[in-house]
């Protein structure tokens, strides 16, 4: 049995007098297996959080069906809530309780007996490396520490599926890496994770399968390796340049250049960014540079790299992830 099945999920937020309705999800379907680490990758406003909201009963879908561990969200929300845990995007720890109380009250909500509650709280605070903050108020903790407490809180009632909504947004690189390690460790013990992120590196490192989502639709879904393999060419050559006339046709004619996409830079500095999917054979760079020069373009910056998930996203949408 799948840990999660989402079928034809749609959600339209009603408009107000001044704002039009927003179609956040336009038919999203996917399934997540038990023990899988699944990622939803997409830019802000793509529908990632709305999808998680629908799964966690906090957003009412306009249509579609969601089944968590065999239980339908629409008809048995309470049973679903026992099976899932949510680590929300905003840090919403109960500011009137201490860290330890946050965990133990969460356990109480789920009817855990006192001895079990306390034992679990102790163990989880230890595991997530926040034991020394047990008696502190949440708002005195750093962002990374609050995030760890939220994960500990989520695990208190022994959920089957953990929903992580952009868990590392706003964390410094060190805290982010620490959190990745923690999540990997938890995953190895058999938990099912569903993670949303707009960091492709995060999806690449953590997720076994990734769905790329944009404008409320899933554009593609596969393992990170297969997604990257689906791109034409073995490498990606990015050119930042200023050209008096279109230079792409000239480049497209070159041997070894398989495809060219113009990427919106969104930086307003007048530079054009061209992304070339290439087979880096003999003399390719020379040919490209010569073509640029012959076209009268002013080349400012070049980068040659292995394709990343961002390239997959750009390939599918023609836009960068962080615009």
């Amino acid at each position: 049995m799948s840990a999660l099945v989402v079928e034809n999920l749609t959600k339209t937020y009603p408009g107000t007098r001044k704002t039009p309705p927003v179609e956040a999800l336009r038919g999203v379907s996917f399934a997540v297996e038990q023990g899988e680490f699944f990622g939803l990758l997409g830019p802000n406003g793509a529908g990632k959080s709305t999808t998680l909201g629908c799964i966690s009963t906090l957003v009412r879908p306009s249509s579609g069906r969601i089944v968590v561990d065999g239980v339908e969200v629409g008809s048995e929300p309470r049973e679903v809530k026992r099976r899932i845990a949510v680590v929300p995007q905003s840090r919403n720890l109960d500011r009137d309780l201490t860290v330890r109380e946050v965990l133990s009250y969460h356990g109480r909500y789920f009817g855990l007996p006192a001895s079990e509650r306390e034992a679990r709280a102790t163990r989880l605070l230890e595991e997530l490396q926040v034991a020394d903050k047990a008696n502190a108020k949440p708002l005195t903790l750093s962002g990374g520490q609050q995030q760890r407490v939220m994960i500990a809180r989520a695990l208190m009632h022994d959920p089957k599926v953990v929903l992580l909504d952009e868990p590392t947004t706003g964390l410094d690189p060190q805290a982010r890496r620490l959190l990745w390690e923690t999540l990997r460790g938890l995953h190895e013990r058999g938990l099912t994770f569903i993670l949303t992120t707009h960091y492709m590196e995060e999806a690449d490192r953590l997720c076994q399968r990734v769905a790329i989502i944009d404008h409320g639709r899933i554009l593609t879904l596969d393992t990170p390796a297969a997604l990257k393999k689906s791109l034409p060419g073995a490498q990606v050559l990015d050119l930042w340049l200023r050209a008096p006339q279109p230079i792409a046709p000239r480049l497209r004619a070159l041997a070894g250049v398989l495809n060219i996409e113009a990427v919106e830079t969104g930086e307003g500095d007048g530079l054009e960014r061209l992304r070339l999917f290439v087979d880096p054979g003999e003399g390719l760079l020379d040919r490209v540079l010569a073509a640029v020069r012959d076209g009268g373009a002013d080349l400012r910056h070049v980068s040659l790299a292995q394709p990343s998930l961002e390239d997959v996203y750009v390939h599918l949408t023609g836009r960068g992830l962080r615009e």
Binding site: T57, L58, K81, S90, R91, D96, L97, Y109
Partner: protein, 255 residues
């Protein structure tokens, strides 16, 4: 039910930690009012010595109203703020109406406590002569305080979910202030016969019923509203605000 009681327990724990703050914020007004109108003015001979007795139940009702509204409104503001602490409650294995009901019950406990504490505080401060009529009927007082507390908390839930934050500053001036003046707290409804049919307008104010309920329970020998009208009014307002508050709460909670 487990989740409901656990949520309530959490609210009571937090409230008990803020007890001093809550007491000061809800009891200061009635105590000061009674000091002026029940102690100083009677001594100066400017109002009759009985005025204090009229006011004790009225001010108990005001204390209940303010505490109930505040007891729901303050946590609700935090809940619905950007960080959405509410989601932690909504993710507990309980329905959204259970979460709303929890808020009302916690607010009602706060309100009832404030009402019951207000009475002795005020009686102590009153100029001794006018206390003859204050003879609480305990078996009536407790259930009426509870119902008035629930009514205030449900009213608080309605206000908190409907009110746009930018109008919060007007809450006292436009809603609570007029309610207190026209809520029969400072005069019994029965005596409003003097203004004829206008007295029925006062029934549009839920505080009128709370004041009269306290009057019935605390000064049973003084004139008060007929029991049927009193109980009917309390329950009707309680039902209306519970319905409106819970419905709006659901709209705000589940997107």
């Amino acid at each position: 039910m487990t989740a409901f009681l656990a949520l309530l327990r959490r609210d009571l724990l937090v409230a008990s930690r803020q007890a001093l703050f809550l007491l000061v914020s809800t009891l200061t007004q009635p105590v000061l009012v009674i000091l002026v109108f029940g102690n100083i003015l009677p001594r100066l001979g400017l109002v009759s010595a009985n005025f204090g007795t009229v006011m004790v139940p009225g001010l108990m009702a005001i204390a209940i109203l303010m505490a109930g509204v505040q007891g729901v409104l303050m946590p609700l503001v935090q809940d619905l703020s950007g960080s959405r602490e509410l989601d932690e409650r909504l993710l507990a294995p309980i329905g959204v109406f259970g979460v709303a009901a929890g808020r009302i019950v916690a607010g009602a406990i706060h309100a009832a406590t404030a009402g019951l504490l207000a009475a002795p505080a005020m009686i102590l401060l009153m100029h001794g002569t006018g206390l003859g009529d204050v003879r609480p009927t305990w078996w009536l007082l407790l259930p009426l305080v509870v119902v008035c507390g629930l009514l205030s908390a449900a009213f608080g839930l309605t206000l908190g979910t409907q009110l746009q934050p930018r109008f919060a500053g007007l809450l006292f001036a436009v809603v609570l202030g007029p309610m207190m003046l026209f809520g029969c707290a400072y005069y019994p409804w029965a005596k409003l016969e003097a203004i004829g049919a206008f007295r029925y307008l006062f029934l549009l104010n839920p505080l009128t019923f709370a004041s009269e309920a306290m009057r019935l329970a605390v000064t049973p020998e003084a004139p008060h509203m007929p029991l049927v009208l009193l109980v009917g009014g309390l329950l009707a307002w309680l039902g209306l605000f519970t319905f409106l508050g819970a419905r709006a709460f659901e709209k705000r909670a589940i997107l």
